[in-house]
């Protein structure tokens, strides 16, 4: 602001306000406009000063001003390559030779400026990388949205050939890069020594079966057996190391060594057995829980990693199963359970006890003796593992909905419109592992009992013949079909029934939908089967009776003898009412056969109980029951 026009008021002194430094006036035009000289900026100062330097004197008379060997500051920031470095070195050498050690007042300044420029370039690059998180950025060559769609399609149609060529070229370029990388890699691989090679091969085969990860310089493996849930728990990981080369000799099978946790450096088995409560010694001797600390760590070096890892995982699994069972035994309310020295004893029923035992063995090769009932041990293990590998959470496919851990039986509940009551029943979920083990064991006991009884009866009873087979057998439910038949009498038909065994009881289901409950008692089962054999005899009697034109008077299936034992009876007479046969069938004895003679036309004689003659069953003619009776019918026919 050049001047402020002073007020023309009468009083006071005129003061003119001006800036302290103002631009120098170059000229004043005829119209009164002032033109100023712009003050010098820094570069002008430098230029002015540079004019004062005798350049010719500094660089020598023969040198030319147009020496482009000098480094451009712009090119520096892009990162010096090897070639450039060499060039710079050559240039500086050249300069040194020409100018000597002291090149003038600006040399150090230029050097520092250049260095700081480099630093700033590096800083900018690093900042850019940290901010954008990418070193390279792919930019589209031509943005298709910029141009009109119609034009583009036209172009595409026109330049299909061109595009093909471009694509092929791009592919060829990419291929070239890959080939180059492959060559470099090949070179690297061939460079590494044989030991490294073997180690890597072994590591690869280890990775096929075990989870492995690398943290820093350490390679860790996971012994955990869970599919879902946390992996690499600290107490379930093992270290992978390269075996040292001893005396230049390399063991090709053991160049990889593993170190499993100390407490897993022992082999474990879990055995399940059924014991009778007879005051015998149920528990093992006490073993110190810190016994594993004495394990020799050197032993790991002699064992192949695949065996060592298998053993360690097995130990982990057995330990986890046992601790889970222990936990559930504590929570269980309706049963009695004792835990002592690695043995868990649970009351089954009656005099039976379920004994689950966790045993440790040394960490050495060899067979471990199988104890207890192998089947029960396998069942326990299988149930535990299948629990671990089941996805309990239901996945929603079409919509995002809250994840539920409802049991599998409820997964289609919506579509089936399952009522609320049933939903409640179904949502109870799986029973605890211990409860299921107890059920399997109970069922196992019952199956053994039933099998023994059925085998015994089938072996003992020749007339009629008894055959039985399993129809269905699962862990908690089994069903056997029993068929009773008489040889040479195919027309009589067979009597067949099912023996169903659950975890609680044995029951017989007959064809007539009659259910005979035998609870857990094998004697009852035996009696029931024998009773059904009697029933078969009764059927054959009535059939033979009809065949020989006799008249059956009664056929009592529910009769009992004086002691109350079931004794089905059969009473028949010939057509003239002159002869009568009375048969009593016993469960555990031979049948009793009585005959009677009465006079023709006197029916009272048949009703009367007196006058029966007992026959000796053994001495009757015939090889089987049916034959004997048939012969008797024929003999007494008339």
């Amino acid at each position: 602001m050049p001047e402020v026009p002073s007020s023309s008021s009468a009083s006071g002194v005129d003061i003119s306000l001006e800036t302290t430094t103002e631009w120098q006036i170059q000229e004043i035009g005829f119209d009164g406009q002032e033109r100023y000289i712009t003050p010098m900026v820094f570069s002008d100062h430098v230029a002015k000063l540079a004019h004062k330097i005798e350049w010719r004197e500094l660089i020598g008379a023969s040198a030319s001003y147009d020496d482009t060997n000098g480094v451009e500051p712009g090119a520096e920031s892009e990162g010096p390559t090897e070639a450039k470095k060499a060039k710079i070195a050559a240039a500086t050498e050249d300069e040194d030779r020409r100018r000597g050690p002291e090149t003038g007042p600006w040399q150090s300044v230029a050097k520092y400026l250049h260095q700081s420029l480099q630093q700033i370039g590096v800083l900018l690059d690093s900042l850019a990388v940290t901010r954008q998180q990418q070193y390279l950025m792919a930019r589209p060559v031509a943005d298709p949205s910029d141009t009109d769609q119609a034009v583009i399609t036209q172009q595409e149609q026109d330049s299909k050939h061109f595009q093909w060529i471009v694509k092929r070229k791009a592919l060829a370029d990419a291929g070239k890069v890959l080939e180059q990388a492959l060559e470099v890699r090949k070179q690297q691989v061939t460079d590494t020594d044989a030991a490294q090679d073997v180690f890597l091969k072994q590591l690869r085969s280890l990775r096929e079966r075990w989870r492995v990860k690398k943290i820093g310089n350490v390679i860790l493996g996971d012994l955990g057996y869970r599919i879902f849930g946390t992996k690499f728990l600290p107490n379930e990981t093992f270290d992978i190391r390269r075996a040292p080369v001893v005396d230049g000799l390399l063991n090709p099978h053991a160049s990889l060594q593993v170190q499993v946790p100390r407490d897993l450096m022992r082999r474990a088995t879990i055995s399940v057995s059924i014991e009778k409560d007879d005051m015998g010694a149920l528990f093992d001797e006490e073993v110190s829980s810190r016994a594993f600390r004495t394990a020799d760590e050197e032993i790991m070096k002699t064992i192949h990693w695949s065996l060592a890892l298998q053993w360690a995982q097995e130990t982990l699994l057995c330990r986890d199963i046992f601790s889970l069972l222990t936990k559930q035994a504590v929570e269980m309310e309706d049963r009695f359970a004792v835990l002592k020295n690695g043995v868990l004893v649970v009351a089954l029923h009656g005099e039976y006890l379920l004994k689950i035992r966790l045993t440790y063995h040394p960490f050495t090769d060899g067979e471990i003796p199988q104890k207890g009932v192998v089947y029960l041990g396998r069942c326990l293990r299988q149930m535990f593992v299948s629990d671990q590998s089941t996805r309990w959470i239901k996945h929603r496919v079409f919509t995002t909905m809250p994840l539920t851990d409802a049991p599998k039986s409820l997964h289609m509940s919506g579509l089936k419109a399952i009522p609320a009551e049933q939903v409640e029943q179904l949502s109870k979920g799986e029973k605890p592992l211990l409860t299921r083990t107890i059920q399997v064991a109970s069922h196992f006991i019952l199956v053994k009992k039933a099998t023994a009884i059925l085998d015994q009866i089938a072996a003992r009873c020749e007339d009629p013949q008894i055959a039985w087979r399993w129809v269905r057998s699962s862990r908690m439910q089994s069903c056997a079909a029993v068929v009773i038949s008489t040889r040479n009498y195919d027309n009589i038909g067979r009597l067949s029934f099912h023996v169903r065994i659950t975890t609680e009881r044995i029951s017989i289901f007959t064809r007539e939908a009659q259910i005979i409950d035998c609870a857990r008692d094998e004697k009852q089962l035996q009696r029931a089967v024998e009773y059904l054999i009697c029933q078969h005899h009764l059927n054959s009697l009535s059939y033979i009776c009809r065949l020989n034109h006799w008249q059956s008077l009664h056929c009592n299936q529910n009769a009992a003898d004086r002691l109350g034992n079931p004794t089905p009876t059969f009473y028949a007479t010939n057509q003239w009412g002159t002869r009568a046969i009375y048969v009593q069938l016993h469960l555990d004895k031979l049948p009793t056969v009585n005959v009677k003679r009465s006079e023709a036309g006197k029916l009272n004689g048949l009703v009367n109980q007196d006058g029966f003659v007992r026959l000796d069953y053994q001495r009757l003619v015939g090889s089987s029951f049916c034959r004997k009776i048939e012969n008797l019918f024929l003999m007494m026919h008339n």
Partner: protein, 238 residues
């Protein structure tokens, strides 16, 4: 699963008796017979209307829920007269969420929402649900659902149901629900049939009350089968 009959309890002269009183009356009758109360129940029905531009392709559907089937959503399109059996579906509750995504095709119609709440009574194998139906919080009528649980064939249970209704709720004994009488002999009864009966009843109640203000001497207008006037308005775009 079982066979259920759904009735509307006749209120007689609507001015003299209120719904709540009628409900109490029924409950007293049930308790007198020996039925025990077993919690509450809840049925709702929400109409979903097709948008203007898709009306030719999609028909009006109703989404129903029943507290007896807590995991299910029932979809019924009663207007599809030519194939009435096919226009019904049972699905997971998640179907509600899927329908929410189909906003461009079907939009909910909250003013037409029916709700029925009440209590459940159990008498041996029978379950009786007594509730009051309301549309947009205005009372519409009393609904009684009688379910015989052990059976699932409609025709086999008819005589037994009739006897039960006659002895327990004699007021209802004159009628058999039209839905049940329309079902063929030995036809399997499914839970969605119960919901279908509810829906039929709701539509009936709605139609009746919208017609009530008109003088009864006048013949029924042909437009009475169309939805009420506020439904004819184009759906609000959200």
């Amino acid at each position: 699963m079982g066979v259920a009959w759904v009735f509307e309890y006749p209120l007689g002269d609507a001015t003299s008796r209120i719904g709540a009183q009628a409900v109490k009356e029924i409950e007293r009758q049930l308790e007198a017979v020996g039925a025990e109360r077993d919690g509450h129940y809840f049925v709702d029905s929400m109409p979903y209307r097709p948008n203007v531009n898709v009306q030719s392709g999609i028909s009006l559907v109703y989404l129903l829920h029943h507290s007896e089937f807590p995991h299910s959503t029932f979809t019924i399109a009663p207007d599809l007269k030519e194939r009435p059996g096919l226009a019904r579906a049972v699905s997971d509750r998640g179907f509600d969420l899927i329908l929410g995504k189909l906003g461009s095709g079907l939009t909910p119609d909250p003013p037409g929402k029916f709700e029925c709440t009440g209590s459940k009574y159990v008498l041996k194998d029978f379950a009786v649900r007594v509730g009051s139906a309301s549309m947009a919080s205005s009372f519409k009528g009393v609904v009684v659902e009688i379910e015989y649980r052990p059976l699932s064939v409609t025709s086999m249970s008819t005589a037994l149901m009739r006897e039960f209704v006659r002895s327990v709720l004699p007021v209802l004994s004159a009628e058999t629900p039209t839905f049940i009488s329309r079902m063929q002999a030995h036809e399997q009864y499914y839970p969605i049939d119960t919901l279908h009966q509810y829906l039929d009843l709701f539509l009936e109640l709605r139609k009746r009350t919208t017609l009530q203000p008109q003088p009864q001497a006048q013949p029924v207008q042909p437009s009475s089968f169309q939805p009420p006037p506020q439904q004819n308005a184009p759906p609000v775009q959200q």
